[in-house]
């Protein structure tokens, strides 16, 4: 929601000043400030809690080691940039592993959870009565390509504005705009195929459909 404003902006300022002044302990404070948001982002990106925890810890480690390279601006956005890059690398590695071992059974649980699922089945008239809309949205997000998913999450869940997302993903404003839009459209398509009707807030028989 847009209401998820950046909490503790002045706290961040003080801690960052201390950190850049050589106080390594200030990093702990900053990490604690953003730990939950970072994990939520990693989890939504990677869809596996254990892998998400590892990714956040990796990101903290990278951030701490490179703390003197922080050039100002939003430290939170800087952390999210490191984390998003890390998550996208993890996803890329998982895809590569999955692609190269199509015949071998995967013994790595992470692979099963992280590997991008194949394209969803073509539109099926299915009743979705009984499924929580939330888990439907989660399933929808899982089908969105990683970079679009990252952009949508940064916008709708984390509340960053387009400029910040551009810096976090190291892309241009136009790319951010496009990715956010396509990500949302993908979720919308997924939901509609499974019976979601815009405006009713709940699933209905897909056969009713929407006049397009």
């Amino acid at each position: 929601m847009l209401g998820r404003a950046r909490v503790g902006a002045s706290d961040e300022q003080q801690l960052v000043e201390r950190l850049l002044g050589g106080d390594g302990g200030a990093f702990d404070g900053l990490a604690r400030l953003y730990e939950r948001g970072l994990f939520a982002h990693a989890y939504r990106l990677l869809r596996d809690p254990a892998t998400a925890e590892d990714a956040v810890q990796d990101a903290f480690l990278l951030a701490y080691r490179g703390r003197l390279t922080f050039r100002g601006g939003s430290f939170k956005a800087w952390l999210f940039r490191i984390l998003t890059n890390r998550c996208l690398d993890v996803l890329r590695d998982a895809r590569r592993r999955a692609a190269s071992s199509l015949d071998a059974p995967s013994s790595d649980d992470d692979d099963a959870a992280i590997a991008e699922p194949a394209d969803p089945a073509p539109a099926v008239d299915e009743f979705v009565i009984g499924r929580e809309l939330g888990s439907l949205v989660e399933a929808a997000l899982a089908t969105v390509p990683a970079e679009q998913r990252a952009a949508v999450l940064l916008r709708d869940v984390q509340g960053f504005d387009y400029e910040e997302i551009a810096r976090i993903t190291n892309t241009e404003l136009g790319t951010v705009k496009s990715r956010i839009h396509r990500g949302r459209v993908a979720v919308r398509e997924y939901l509609i195929r499974r019976g979601w009707r815009a405006g009713t807030g709940g699933p209905v028989a897909a056969s009713e459909g929407r006049g397009r």
């Binding site: 929601m1 302990g25 702990d28 903290f60 949508v152 979720v187 815009a198």
Partner: protein
């Protein structure tokens, strides 16, 4: 030519307030006239709200990296604090003058017993360190402080120094004792105290830097 191009990514940007003024006006103009784009905008608004409303999962454990203090740092802080206090006390005691006229009778090496005899011979002094004694004594002891430790060792005017010239920690802290300056000049104790305090402060700040406040 009336080319009605529907809004695409502009819809999301409009929703997020990411259009500049000109683009926003254009979008609003189009939306007023286009029911399809209005419906799509509403869809996007709801999708955005659904995503935002997803529950925020919590990690099962703390992910914050815990920096560790070098193991020698904490005892170093304690030791230097104690040393600073000890040096400070020695300095205070060594610079407090006590009337001392008896010649040296204690042989070298005698510590507690010599000090006990001194206590008997000397008038009892106030427990708390008093302001410096008469200047004359101060000056005389100051003069005696400058010669080499060896000379002071045999000095008649500093009897207890003979018994006591053995090391910085060799200080009797009984309240009745007001020893004349030791073989080490009092200023040296002050310097040592300040140096130890500096070390204590430095280690303390190093620890705080790692552990945070």
């Amino acid at each position: 030519m009336n080319e009605r191009r529907h809004l695409e990514a502009e819809l999301s940007a409009y929703l997020d307030g990411a259009l500049d003024a000109r683009e926003r006006v254009e979008a609003e103009t189009h939306l007023q006239a286009c029911a399809l784009c209005r419906a799509r905008l509403e869809d996007l608004r709801q999708v955005s709200a659904l995503i935002a409303a997803l529950p925020e999962p919590a990690p099962r454990r703390s992910l914050v990296p815990h920096a560790r203090v070098p193991p020698w740092l904490v005892p170093a802080r304690w030791a230097s604090s104690v040393a600073a206090a000890a040096f400070g006390l020695v300095f205070v005691f060594s610079s407090v003058q006590v009337p001392l006229a008896q010649p040296a009778s204690a042989p070298a090496g005698r510590l507690e017993s010599g000090a006990a005899q001194e206590r008997d011979r000397q008038p009892p002094a106030a427990p708390a360190p008093s302001p410096p004694a008469p200047d004359a004594q101060k000056r005389s002891t100051a003069r005696l402080a400058t010669p080499s430790p060896g000379a002071a060792f045999f000095s008649e005017a500093r009897p207890t120094a003979v018994a006591r010239g053995l090391g910085p920690y060799d200080v009797s802290l009984t309240t009745n004792e007001r020893q004349p300056p030791l073989t080490v000049p009092p200023l040296a104790w002050l310097v040592a105290a300040i140096a130890s305090a500096a070390v204590a402060l430095g280690t303390h700040r190093a620890i705080r830097r790692v552990r945070g406040s």
